[in-house]
Amino acid sequence: MTNYLLHLGSLLFIYILLAQSLNLILGAGKLFSLGHVALFGIGSYVTAIGAVDYGLDQWSLIFLSGVTSSVFASVIVFTSGRLKEEYFAVATLAFHYVVQSVFINFRTVTRGVMGIPGIPSLYDTSLDMFIFIFLVSTAGLLILKLVFNSRLTLLLRGLADSEIVASSLKIDPKIVRLKAFVISGFFCGVSGSLFAYYLKYIDPSSFALSEIMLLVTIVLIGRPGSFFGTVIASFFVILLPEAIRFVEFLQNYTSILGSLRQLIYSLILFFAIYLTREKIFGRVI
């Protein structure tokens, strides 16, 4: 039972950091990015390849994963930064599929659908691994909290409110979005790195599009742009499906538990989008 709780705790802190990275872009910036799981995956692959093929140490790889995801995040801004709302979402969706296609087909490096096993264990016990993930994630969250309180986030919110007014106030939309994406991408990469170290095996299925729905649900439930809301929503969204496992009357229906969890996610996502649609899209849809 302790190991199970530590497992949940480890995943939780990986996802809080990842969801908070998305919250900066989707919540504060109202940019509906569907590319954040791809950035997360890039971080994971950098760590997996760096650790397995090149034997690099964890600190170098966590940093390298963050930087690599940042670089790819800046590619999103350079290619799609001027697109608005749903067009931006579609462009980042395309980015996701391109990256996932590379994970699957660039076999000489990523080993395709076979994935990369044998990522070295950092610690012998689950508790030590949990503490490591907790500390790295918390450090990342503290930095992100400073970012949320900074002028950059205010500019991002201003741009989301009115790009025309922001431009007339000497604000360069592209630079603001670039900075936000670089920061957000960095922490996607860091959480991806923690994910690879934690699971010790990654393959493209871990970075499927469905994962973005989990993150979007967290951000929407937590109130877009709210730092603490996202933290609390992460607990709710990550732990709720696990809690269902322990509901007694469902024990005899284990075959439907998987689909039940999907159904719950879908319902939560539906209501979260319905209630926050104006905050995300800036108009009633």
């Binding site: 205010l154 025309i164 431009s167 007339s168 604000i171």
Partner: protein, 223 residues
């Protein structure tokens, strides 16, 4: 600032036709004209939101017509919008903090009677309060040329004098103001000179009283 031979065509229609004028440093110029005469389009051209134009715009001898809006703002073009010029989702205070200038925000808000609303979303302000907030924000930026697009539109009559006082306080020897306004009396009290825009052309220019008395102005407005 010098605007020369500006031609703007939108959707096949000629909106501005070889428009040229000059505004001296420290001068306040009013622009009047019936709806659809191209006044707001002219402001969009000067501030860079419409860049598909021919002609030139010079600020302090530098050509700026190819720059995007934020660079023109950096060069000294400020703007107060006809509507939607504040960030409604930010608080009143954040609307000033976003400028990044180190100024006593509390004192500025107190001066326009909005200190008690500092933490409220700016969207809750009345039309006149929004305009005051925008004027204060423009003042913080200290632009060389400030474009004011119908500052009294949608504002309660009792707020007009407050706005006029605020606009008067924005005047300085180094700052030029360009004001679009329908209220001829309001504009006469503020401006050194008035340009009359009609069907994309400047058809009249002169002292406010002189323009106001011209029968051609009545003809333009009332046919």
């Amino acid at each position: 600032m010098k605007v020369e031979d500006i031609v703007v065509s939108l959707g096949g229609s000629l909106i501005l036709k070889n428009l040229s004028f000059k505004i001296d440093q420290g001068e306040t110029v009013g622009i009047i004209g019936p709806n659809g005469s191209g006044k707001t389009t002219l402001f969009n051209v000067i501030s860079g939101f419409i860049r598909e134009i021919s002609g030139t715009i010079e600020l302090d001898g530098e050509r700026i017509e190819n720059y995007p809006p934020f660079i023109r703002a950096q060069k000294g073009i400020g703007r107060v919008f006809q509507s939607g010029g504040i960030f409604g989702e930010l608080t009143v205070l954040e609307n000033l903090i976003i400028t990044g200038k180190k100024v006593p925000y509390d004192e500025l808000l107190k001066a326009i009677g909005l200190l008690n609303k500092a933490k409220e979303p700016a969207s809750v302000l009345s039309g006149g309060q929004k305009r005051l907030l925008e004027l204060i924000r423009a003042e913080i930026f200290d632009p060389k040329v400030l474009l004011l697009d119908e500052p009294t539109a949608g504002v309660a009559p009792n707020m007009k004098q407050v706005l006029a006082d605020r606009i008067n306080s924005l005047k300085s020897k180094t700052r030029s103001l360009l004001i679009i306004e329908h209220d001829i009396q309001f504009i006469s009290s503020l401006c050194d000179r008035v340009l009359v825009l009609f069907q994309g052309e400047i058809v009249m220019s002169g002292k406010p009283d002189q323009v106001r008395k011209d029968p051609y102005l009545q003809e333009i407005y009332f046919g």
